[in-house]
């Protein structure tokens, strides 16, 4: 169950997309997502889809993985598409049955929305697929560094995020381990009423909480032993450097943005 969630996973690699500076990548992803919402017609959206395919190819992430990321959200996509088909009533009528009216406008909007949501998911999952969690939080910290004047601000929040992200896999592993140990003692987690199932989780959550607290103490001690004092005056092992590749990335995004804006104004009549 937990293994099926691919969003947020990181797949190491050395492709162009992997090598982008995380700060630039964050900005590019955000701009890309905003641009998807700016699209007003199929030509503009087509440009987005085309560039997304280019990015996927250059990231060298397998198509299978990307499709798997969409799978859990398939229901929402289909649901929104259906709503649009039945509740939009612009354009020519294609089908009429009692109170159900399907129009060309509805069908177009449905397809449009579906493509939009899918591109959104792919764009955001590409960010996490190609950037390690630490790089993402580091990137966020650096992007938010103008807010440094706030007390206990940016660094603490970023450190908490890094630690939280870092421990998600550890906690999942721990959860699996304890679940297996209790299953080996005959714990029944799969059947029973809701109350019984909730009760069956006690033997798992009690040890999980105790272990988490123990880990938190250990981590705090380990950080103190290495003289961790907070963010002030701290330097980094991995300095982020923007290079030629980042300039290419920004230029690529600028071209897409320009094209979308141009197409939006050139073809105002198609949805």
């Amino acid at each position: 169950m937990i293994k099926d969630i691919t969003i947020g996973q990181f797949f190491p690699g050395k492709s162009m997309v992997h090598r982008l500076d995380p700060r630039v990548k964050l900005i590019l992803t955000m701009t890309f997502i905003i641009t998807i919402f700016l699209c007003k017609n199929f030509f503009a959206l087509g440009i987005m889809l085309f560039s997304l395919i280019l990015i996927i190819i250059s990231s060298k992430i397998s198509i299978k993985l990307i499709l798997r990321g969409i799978k859990p959200l398939l229901f929402i996509i289909v649901f929104t598409a259906f709503l649009n088909i039945f509740f939009m009533s612009t354009g020519e009528v294609l089908l009429e049955y009692k109170f159900i009216v399907v129009t060309t406008g509805g069908v177009f909007t449905a397809i449009f929305m579906a493509i939009r949501i899918i591109s959104l998911i792919i764009a955001s999952s590409l960010l996490t697929y190609t950037t390690s969690p630490t790089m993402i939080t580091d990137g966020i910290e650096r992007l938010l560094s103008p807010l440094k004047f706030m007390k206990n601000g940016v660094h603490t929040v970023a450190m908490m995020m890094t630690i939280a992200l870092r421990f998600i896999p550890t906690l999942i592993e721990e959860f699996d381990k304890i679940t297996n140990a209790q299953k080996a003692r005959g714990a029944n987690l799969e059947t029973g009423s809701l109350v019984q199932r909730a009760k069956a989780l006690i033997p798992i959550f009690v040890p999980l909480f105790i272990t988490s607290f123990r880990r938190a103490y250990e981590l705090a001690f380990a950080m103190e032993c290495r003289c961790y004092q907070g963010g002030e005056g701290r330097t980094r092992m991995k300095q982020m450097k923007t290079g030629l590749i980042d300039i290419y990335g920004l230029a690529f995004m600028a071209v897409i943005l320009g094209a979308v804006i141009f197409l939006n104004y050139s073809y105002t009549h198609v949805i």
Binding site: R68, I178, N180, Q182, A184, R185, G186, A187, P203, P207
Partner: protein, 292 residues
């Protein structure tokens, strides 16, 4: 009939992602009733994956597992009974303790079996005596026990199900020498008194040489060797080549034999070493006397 049998057992992790890897491949083993099998192998050689197949926690990608001659995946409902037949105690089992008292925690397994109160009571006391926990321990909170006691309480939780096969994953890791000896003796006594089959995963060759009747060596996800302790440790060279260790005493004797001392290189317990050395020195001494 063998109590445990596997046929072409293969398990793949992360199928369909770039991380797909075989944790175990084509494992064919047969373990007889009443054996004490030591399982050795590197970290990542598939030991943990193998033992989780034996009580049905993992479902094989390919192949079959037979317990008591019965294919455990033949019928979905049999899986639960397999869990009670094959008791599995994971590494660091003290982190699975959760109840208010040690008594209740040990009773968790038998309770899940649906036994009646008096039987549960009997089994808890039985298991507690196997691991040397007193009446006073049973009423304490498991979190107030010492590390070694916690470990023993957790093992008792598995023993209380009275499984036909008891599997222990590194039962002595992280304990001091005294705690280690206590646990090993306890396992030995448990097997002697219940006549059940016991499997122990361990990194300590010394412990295995001392306790086990058979040894299973895993290397690179497959079975490299399976045989009696004598058979396995007579191939010490091969074991070392796999990057595994042999008991320290074996190393000493192998070294002696290599340097031309007239001893056997196939010694793996202190007792054998003593006998071999006294043989050697007995010969030397008489020679010495004759010389002068």
């Amino acid at each position: 009939m063998s109590i445990i049998k596997t046929q072409n057992l293969t398990y793949l992790y992360s199928t369909g992602t770039p991380f797909e890897i075989a944790a175990i491949k084509d494992v064919n083993i047969e373990i007889e009733q009443g054996e004490l099998v030591g399982i050795i192998g590197h970290t990542g050689s598939g030991k943990s994956t193998l033992i989780q197949h034996l009580n049905g926690l993992l479902k094989p990608t390919y192949g079959k597992v037979y317990i008591d001659g019965q294919d455990i995946w033949e019928d979905k409902d049999t899986i639960k009974s397999v869990r009670f037949k094959v008791g599995l105690c994971f590494q660091y089992p003290e982190y699975q303790l959760f109840e208010e008292t040690v008594y209740k925690d040990i009773a968790f397994g038998p309770k899940n079996m649906g036994l009646d109160y008096s039987e549960i009571h009997r089994r808890v006391h039985d298991a507690a005596s196997h691991v040397g926990l007193s009446e006073a321990h049973l009423s304490k909170s498991p979190f107030d026990l010492s590390g070694g006691e916690k470990r023993r309480a957790a093992i008792a939780g598995v023993m209380a199900m009275q499984p036909k096969v008891l599997i222990l994953d590194e039962p002595t890791s992280g304990l001091d020498p005294k705690g280690r000896d206590t646990i090993l003796n306890m396992i030995k006594n448990y097997r002697d008194s219940t006549k059940s089959t016991v499997l122990i995963v361990s990194h300590s060759m010394e412990d295995i040489a001392k306790l086990a009747t058979k040894v299973l060596v895993l290397n690179e996800s497959s079975v490299a060797m399976y045989g009696t302790v004598d058979e396995i440790f007579s191939k010490s060279e091969e074991i070392i080549q796999m990057g595994l260790d042999v008991p320290p005493i074996t190393r000493v004797f192998m070294g002696l034999a290599k340097h031309g001392v007239n001893v056997s290189g196939q010694i793996y317990t202190l007792e054998q070493g003593k006998v071999e050395l006294s043989k050697l020195f007995a010969g030397k001494c008489t020679q010495g006397v004759e010389g002068t």
